[in-house]
């Protein structure tokens, strides 16, 4: 029967301690979730440029190539209000928006609806013009949760926990600092839906870097949005965020209470 000598035990102890110290030292060298996000802000324009952000307008095309479906997309954001419209031949307009805390959707397939609960909270949060650079207002923690390769790039995986609801997971390139992917579970009328979006083709728009290609997959379907026009701080009238007539009639009936 083999026995470890005292020397061997001490040697093993020191080796183990050295390994632990090394691991701890390496961990200390790793960035934090917060610093990764702050770096993203820095490489996409910097805090000063973000602080000047008042409006964003992006227009382009949407393509679900695998199903042969395509159309146009327009996204507007201003001071906590937002409006998105996708128009597809054979389906018509798919609209959603936020106006003064009222989150809504409208289309000819499922009709008009005012969103409530967690679904509303997520939509209102995503409408915030300062969501990226003032992320601490909306998320309680941002924790580094490892690394993954996204589109051939080594990325940090950061888990952001909002005040209420499901966490968002964001992937930032170690090399460039840019966000390349986001995943999460989206609350919808039909139930929680796993969702993934990818960002690429970053270009500078008036001092800020913005992704001109956005891939989205949810519910087993995938779509790619390609923006052909992107403006920052152009005048956008408040009327652009007006509730459609179909939604106006529904608003008094719905209490827009945040999820508990």
């Amino acid at each position: 029967m083999l026995r470890y000598s005292g020397f061997m035990r001490r040697r093993a102890f020191f080796q183990l301690s050295a390994a632990s110290l090394a691991a701890g030292y390496l961990k200390a060298l790793e960035p934090t979730g917060s610093s990764i996000i702050d770096r993203f802000i820095a490489v996409t324009g910097g805090k000063a440029a973000y602080a000047k952000l008042v409006t964003e307008v992006a227009e382009g095309t949407v393509n679900m190539g695998a199903q042969g479906v395509s159309g146009t997309v327009k996204v507007l954001k201003k001071s906590g209000n937002a409006y998105t419209v996708i128009e597809i031949a054979g389906v018509g307009k798919l609209e959603e928006g936020v106006r003064q805390g009222i989150a809504w959707e409208n289309n000819k397939i499922t009709g008009a609806r005012v969103r409530t609960g967690e679904e509303r909270d997520v939509q209102v949060r995503n409408a915030a013009i300062d969501l990226e650079h003032q992320w601490r207002k909306y998320f309680v923690t941002a924790d580094l949760a490892g690394s993954e390769t996204i589109a051939g790039e080594d990325c940090y995986k950061v888990v952001l926990k909002p005040k209420t609801g499901e966490p968002e997971i964001r992937y930032f390139s170690k090399k460039t600092g840019l966000m390349l992917k986001m995943t999460g579970v989206m609350p919808t009328q039909m139930g929680p839906m796993p969702m993934e979006s990818t960002m690429s083709d970053y270009r500078e728009v008036q001092g800020l870097k913005r992704p001109f290609k956005l891939g989205v997959s949810a519910g087993g379907q995938a779509a790619e949005m390609t923006f052909t026009k992107y403006t920052i701080n152009a005048p956008v009238p408040d009327s652009a965020f007006a509730l459609p007539a179909e939604v106006v009639g529904l608003v008094p009936k719905v209490a827009s209470k945040p999820a508990k």
């Binding site: 679900m64 695998a66 199903q67 042969g68 479906v69 031949a89 054979g90 389906v91 018509g92 289309n107 000819k108 397939i109 499922t110 009709g111 008009a112 609806r113 919808t188 009328q189 039909m190 139930g191 929680p192 839906m193 796993p194 519910g219 087993g220 379907q221 179909e246 009639g249 529904l250």
Partner: protein, 416 residues
């Protein structure tokens, strides 16, 4: 030397099937492997085992038709609906000779085709059996379908086959041999009508005529439509029909006979014209990564009186989801015959070969916990078709009207 070259050429193996067909096979197999909602069930059906078997067959195929046939055979082993590869040599069932349609509908009774609901001036009578089309007996092809298909699916396929044989160019003619019960066979010629409805395109689907009809039958409103597509026209048509009925209709009928489905979530939206309470759902779509409820979204205009839905063996997919869901909610009474039982949410993609591949990506479980696939929706009031009642009119519609008129007005129609 020439003889040697000829010998050499004869000795060469026949060219293998083009690589695009192996790429097509691989894509079909992988899509099912990745997207089937129940990997365990898929494996139990031997999906992994089927790959080398059928890949080898496709590799040895001598023509695109043969390669396509093997791929179809492989997916048919899963015995599920909504698997379809369109392209090249369609099966006998699917051959259509043009956009023209006969001036009457076809009802299947006991594996025989009968004329039903003829248009005015059609020159044929309802309740008459169609024996031959263009000199070809229908009995043989219809019998072959009884061997390969069962139940409501068989009836639907038989009807589709007969309608295909009756098709042609609009304005053209089709020669028939028909026979009324107790009568002699009679030859006749009917003129084909143009497609019914407005052509609509969506994705890879070919342009399809979408017909939407609304009418009043005395104090009962009715809407019938052939596909769950073109929401830009369909939703407003529903809204208009409901609005027109709101304080003047005793009941409402939605005719889903012959409707093979379309956009799945449209069932949620259209059901919302008849359901007042929020957070109701028709059923659940079960995907590999999620379960999503077909939640009904109550509309601004809602009809709250008695609701009848008409179905038959050709009612499928989204149409079954809407009918079955409203039945399970206790909101609608269903009339007619069992629906097709083909209710799997699916998508359509283009393959490397250029063919379109439709495949299901989820199972659908009704609100009452049953899989609609293979089962269909059972009517609350079955209406058996006979040559006699076909000749008299529309027995299914009549049954629904009778029920509506027998209802007391318990709930007032909401004015909005």
């Amino acid at each position: 030397m020439l003889r040697l070259v000829t010998l050499l050429l004869l000795a060469l193996p026949l060219p293998a099937i083009e690589p695009v067909w192996l790429a097509t096979f691989d894509q079909v197999w992988q899509l099912v492997q990745d997207k089937h909602w129940d990997p365990v069930e898929l494996e139990r059906n031997g999906w992994t085992r089927l790959k080398p078997e059928f890949r080898a067959k496709v590799a040895e195929a001598k023509s695109p038709a043969e390669a396509r046939g093997y791929i179809r055979e492989m997916i048919q082993r899963l015995k599920l609906s909504h698997f379809h590869i369109s392209g090249g040599d369609a099966s006998e069932e699917a051959v259509s000779y043009g956009d023209g349609r006969p001036p009457f509908d076809v009802a299947m009774i006991d594996n025989r085709a009968w004329i039903w609901r003829p248009e005015p001036g059609a020159g044929v009578r309802a309740g008459t059996e169609i024996l031959e089309v263009e000199g070809v007996l229908l009995a043989g092809p219809l019998k072959r379908l009884t061997e390969s298909r069962q139940g409501a699916m068989r009836l639907a396929r038989q009807r589709a086959l007969v309608l295909a044989k009756l098709s042609g160019d609009p304005g053209g003619t089709v020669n028939l041999l028909t026979q009324a019960p107790g009568g002699m066979p009679v030859k006749s010629t009917v003129k084909l009508l143009g497609p019914k409805g407005q052509l609509t395109r969506f994705g890879f689907l070919p342009p399809m005529p979408i017909s939407i009809e609304t009418k009043r039958l005395g104090d009962v409103g009715l809407i019938s439509f052939n596909l769950f597509l073109d929401p830009v026209r369909l939703s407003p048509a529903f809204e208009g029909a409901v609005k027109a009925c709101k304080s003047t209709c005793k009941g409402f009928i939605v005719d889903l006979r012959g409707n093979p489905g379309g956009i799945g979530i449209l069932a949620m939206g259209l059901a919302g014209f008849f359901v007042t309470q929020p957070d109701q759902y028709l059923g659940t779509m079960v995907r590999r990564d999620s379960k999503l409820k077909f939640t009904v979204n109550p509309r601004a205009e809602i009809f709250t009186g008695p609701l009848a839905i008409l179905i038959d063996s050709s009612t499928a997919s989204t149409a079954e989801i809407m009918a079955g869901g409203l039945q399970d909610l206790g909101r609608a009474r269903i009339f007619g015959s069992r629906s097709m039982g083909a209710a799997l949410p699916s998508v359509i993609e283009r393959l490397p070969s250029g063919d379109l591949f439709q495949y299901p990506v989820a199972n659908y479980i009704s609100r009452n916990g049953k899989a609609l696939e293979g089962e269909g929706v059972l009517p609350d009031q079955a209406v058996e078709l006979t040559p006699a009642n076909l000749a008299a009119g529309d027995p299914v519609l009549d049954a629904a009207l009778q029920w509506i008129h027998a209802q007391k007005s318990v709930l007032p129609t909401i004015r909005r």
